[in-house]
Amino acid sequence: MKNEQGKPKKYGMVVDLDKCTGCGACMVACMSENNVPFKADESNKRDSITWMRVYKITNGKPFPDTENCFLPRPCMHCEGQHGHSPCVSVCPATATDYSTETGIVSQIYTRCFGCRYCMGACPYHARHFNWWDPVWPDGMEKSLSPNVSVRMRGIVEKCSFCFHRYQAAMDKAMMEGRKELEESEYQTSCTQACPSGAITFGDLNNPKHAVYELKKNPNAFRLLERLGTNPKVYYVSSREWVRRAGDNYIKGEWENKQNAKK
């Protein structure tokens, strides 16, 4: 579906790392919106299912010159070249797909049979495998949302940019005879919750949406851009060491890149 400008929609995020405080509200907003399960011990972060995870990065300098920064990591919804995102390319079950309508990388749980190729292909650790059946303590299943299906053992799950919210917003728009969504009609749960307003979400192709301009900030960068994943999550930081942490550089390469910019 095309918007007024004739370009297809391309939903994405711009995260202001100067504002992100690492409070973790986005993580919990995501978990409670998307029926994400939990276990007794979640300290092994490799099997802890977090569609949105806030990483803490450091400049590596000794006391007292140490600096920290927090980096929220949802699914990057990579576009790759023409929708060939790393995970979509390897899925043998067509359980994950790139939507040219919205730019969202989907995950269809009932098609996934748990081969986990996509997890190996994803350079961002954005995908999680259900090693166990989810268990809610007696009574707590009352808090589950009917808008997102509960996953089960043996399948892979990941951030969907709260696609069910997009569907609900589109349904409402259709009922009102509209084909366009206002920016505020479709926002992800993490964006809505962030008490610092660090996350901005919208259609990267739509000049009326805030992300359209924000992504052009000279301090904006994406993670591991040079892999050609073409991610749709942008980060903005005024600190150089943070921008540099967005990719792996060999000695002198970053400096050359900075000089070339000038």
């Binding site: 973790g24 977090t50 006391f63 707590m140 610092s196 307003g197």
Partner: protein, 688 residues
């Protein structure tokens, strides 16, 4: 027909190729993935009509507006309430996970009494009826009379007033509020401004922020509001200077982090005041006695020696503070779960006073205590330290409501000993928290999403404001509103109360404003603060850094607790979603990690991930070492908010037994004004 080897093999290959080319394998994989996902134990949430109910979150003193999404009669999501004056749409992770408290296994489902054959804390309970429970409590309180005490996390609002009325009826003045930085603020404001007031900070309008250890991004004040102010500061390029020994999230996001020797924040503030006065940078007058003390004893060089901050930096700080048009100095360690010394509060107050920003836009406000509860006849308050640990502590009954002293007060063992001396403890907790486990009888309150309650004065808010918390769902269990229980007990004891139920009490308290209050969920009032007097009198007997418990020869290190948004650290235990966000450098499996500078660790031959035994004069714990460059050498930091003890249900594996409660290792260091100003404790570390 004879089947020879050749035809057998070709048939086999033919079959194989045929099946592989047919849709059968793909259909089977697809089906098997579907079949293996249709387990009866995987819940399928019921669909239904969806709507939103607004309320106020009471999980911390912030008083944020929440908007709860319901599907039929189930609450399925908590979101921030747009347009709320405190939080305007934002919400923190604890607020977001509130449904796990509502529906979780921690709830106390009916009134319970400790079994006669069981000791306190053994977890053996018998179910009793509400009538039995209340008449037993009434009888015991009748016997205890003026030896009854009550402890709560707040002393404002109708429910604390009902408890006070009950106590007054018994002739007891023993109403305690769990100690926090509010105590320091209130005492300091009473002494300087001369009227009972809470501290409010006009964060949004300040244009220079100097924070003496206030965990602005760790949960200080009303957390969501502070976060929003922080983002506003980023937009407006307002400088934020964070002074504390550890690189906290606040320090990491500030424009400048100034590590200071632990516990010397007040000296640094006085050093800055010295420069302001000496260089003629002050914009308002303060009392001569203050000026004299500061001019004589707090020259930058002296302060540099004490605090470890270079003299040049102190002068620079003072100059940039004075150059701003609306500078604001803040204090309160971390979230503010512990008090700070009166002198430290006064020192920081003085910086604001010298800049003339008391009760001014962008400044510090002395917000008068709410006085809308006209039926309240009492305002008695007692000190926890005297009543619980004092020499002549002789309480006969203790009522515990919206508080968890056995977990949240420092020196757990001393609290336990104090509770052991009290023959009758009643808990009104909705959850099986530590103090509830240690009670004799539990009269469970409705969960915060099931009840009405007025929520006055959000922490640190600079205008008078009352929020209304209201039922979002019907009570899930056989619980009763504590307000109703207290009214019933007070009536049984013969106290004079014009109300029969809590709801009428609340409605009539608000009288004509009730309708509007119901509709908007908040009530605000105008107030014109009086002009400040400039009176600041430091307590000269305690003008030296707080002495921590322990000999430095035996305990060469200093242990400080640290707060984090991801650990509530208060009377409420963390729900599973919150625990899930805790980094593995804070909690690893069930081990708590301590932060230590690599240099310090090296001298103990400890590397990252190694186990060590941490000992303080109060206790000892096995800990995992996490090397962190963001902490001063010689200081160890330990997270506050872990180490909850298992409740009775056996279903709380999500919270219990994880790490250590830092309060087990903490002691106290009282300043002469009765505030516990201990910012840490001396400690030693050994390889384990």
């Amino acid at each position: 027909m004879k089947i020879d080897r050749r035809s057998f093999l070709s048939l086999g290959v033919g079959f194989g190729a045929g099946i592989a080319l047919s849709p059968l394998p793909w259909k089977l994989t697809d089906d098997s993935s579907i079949w293996t996902q249709m387990w009866p134990w995987t819940p399928v949430p019921e669909r239904g009509e969806s709507r939103y109910v607004n309320s106020v979150c009471t999980l911390c003193p912030g008083g944020c507006g929440i908007s709860v999404r319901k599907v039929e009669d189930r609450a399925v999501k908590i979101e921030g309430q747009k347009g709320h004056p405190v939080s305007n749409g934002g919400i923190c992770l604890l607020g977001l996970s509130g449904l796990q408290l509502l529906y979780g296994p921690y709830r106390v489902k009916y009134p319970m009494k400790r079994r006669e054959d069981a000791k306190r804390g053994q977890g053996k309970w018998q179910k009793i009826s509400w009538d039995e429970a209340m008449s037993e409590v009434a009888k015991k309180l009748g016997d205890a009379k003026d030896k009854t005490a009550c402890i709560m996390d707040s002393d404002k609002g109708t429910v604390p007033q009902l408890f006070k009325t009950l106590l007054t009826g018994l002739g007891s003045p023993n109403f305690m509020r769990t100690p926090s930085v509010e105590d320091s603020f209130e005492l300091a404001l009473l002494k300087t401004c001369g009227y009972p007031a809470s501290a409010g900070f006009d964060l949004e309008n300040a244009d220079f922020v100097l924070s003496f250890g206030a965990g602005l991004l760790e949960g200080w004040g009303a957390p969501v509001r502070t976060f929003k102010a922080n983002s506003l500061w980023k937009d407006k390029k307002v400088p934020v200077i964070q002074i504390e020994p550890r690189l906290s999230n606040t320090a990491a996001k500030s424009d400048k982090w100034i590590p200071v020797n632990p516990g010397t924040e007040s000296e640094l503030a006085l050093g800055i005041a010295h420069v302001l006065i000496k260089e003629g940078l002050a914009k308002a007058e303060v009392s001569d006695s203050f000026k004299k003390i500061v001019s004589e004893g707090y020259a930058p060089d002296t302060v540099a020696r004490i605090t470890g901050v270079e003299a040049g930096v102190i002068v620079g700080l003072a100059k940039s503070f004075a150059a701003a048009s609306k500078p604001l100095a803040l204090c309160g360690r971390g979230k503010g779960a512990t008090p700070i010394s009166l002198n430290e509060t006064l020192a920081v107050y003085a910086l604001n006073a010298l800049m003339g920003n008391i009760n001014q836009e962008g400044g510090l406000f002395a917000v008068p205590q709410p006085d809308y509860i006209k039926w309240a006849k009492t305002n008695s308050n007692a000190s926890v330290s005297k009543l619980l640990y004092g020499k002549d502590a002789s309480l006969k009954a203790l009522l515990v409501a919206n508080a968890n002293p056995l977990y949240s007060l420092p020196d757990t063992q001393a609290v336990k000993t104090a509770l052991d001396k009290i023959p009758f403890i009643v808990s009104f907790s909705s959850y099986m928290d530590e103090t509830a486990q240690y009670a004799d009888i539990i009269l469970p309150n409705h969960c915060y999403l099931e009840r009405y309650e007025d929520v006055p004065a959000p922490a640190g808010y600079h205008k008078p404001l009352i929020g209304l918390s209201r039922p979002v769902v019907k009570p899930q269990f056989n619980t009763k509103h504590t307000g109703d229980v207290v009214i019933a007990i007070a009536k049984a004891m013969g106290a004079e109360l014009p109300y029969d139920s809590y709801e009428t009490c609340l409605k009539e308290t608000f009288g004509d404003t009730w309708e509007a209050f119901q509709k908007d969920g908040v009530l605000t009032a105008d107030f014109t603060p009086p002009a400040p007097s400039g009176k600041i009198e430091l307590n000269e007997t305690s003008l030296k850094p707080v002495a921590l418990e322990g000999e430095s020869s035996a305990f060469p290190l200093v242990l400080v607790p640290f707060d984090s948004m991801r650990l509530s650290g208060s009377s409420i235990g963390e729900p599973p979603f919150v625990i899930k966000t805790v980094d593995d450098t804070i909690l690893f499996k069930n081990d708590i990690c301590i932060e230590i500078n690599p240099k310090t660790a090296q001298s103990y031959n400890l590397s990252d991930g190694k186990y060590a035994r941490l000992t303080t004069p109060k206790g000892s714990a096995k800990v995992r070492v996490h090397l962190y460059e963001g902490i001063m050498p010689g200081v160890i930091a330990m997270p506050r908010g872990l180490g909850h003890t298992p409740g009775f249900t056996g279903n709380d594996k999500y919270l219990a037994g994880k790490g250590v409660n830092v309060n087990e290792l903490m002691g106290s260091a009282e300043c002469p004004d009765g505030l516990n100003a201990a910012y840490g404790i001396r400690a030693k570390l050994e390889r384990a």
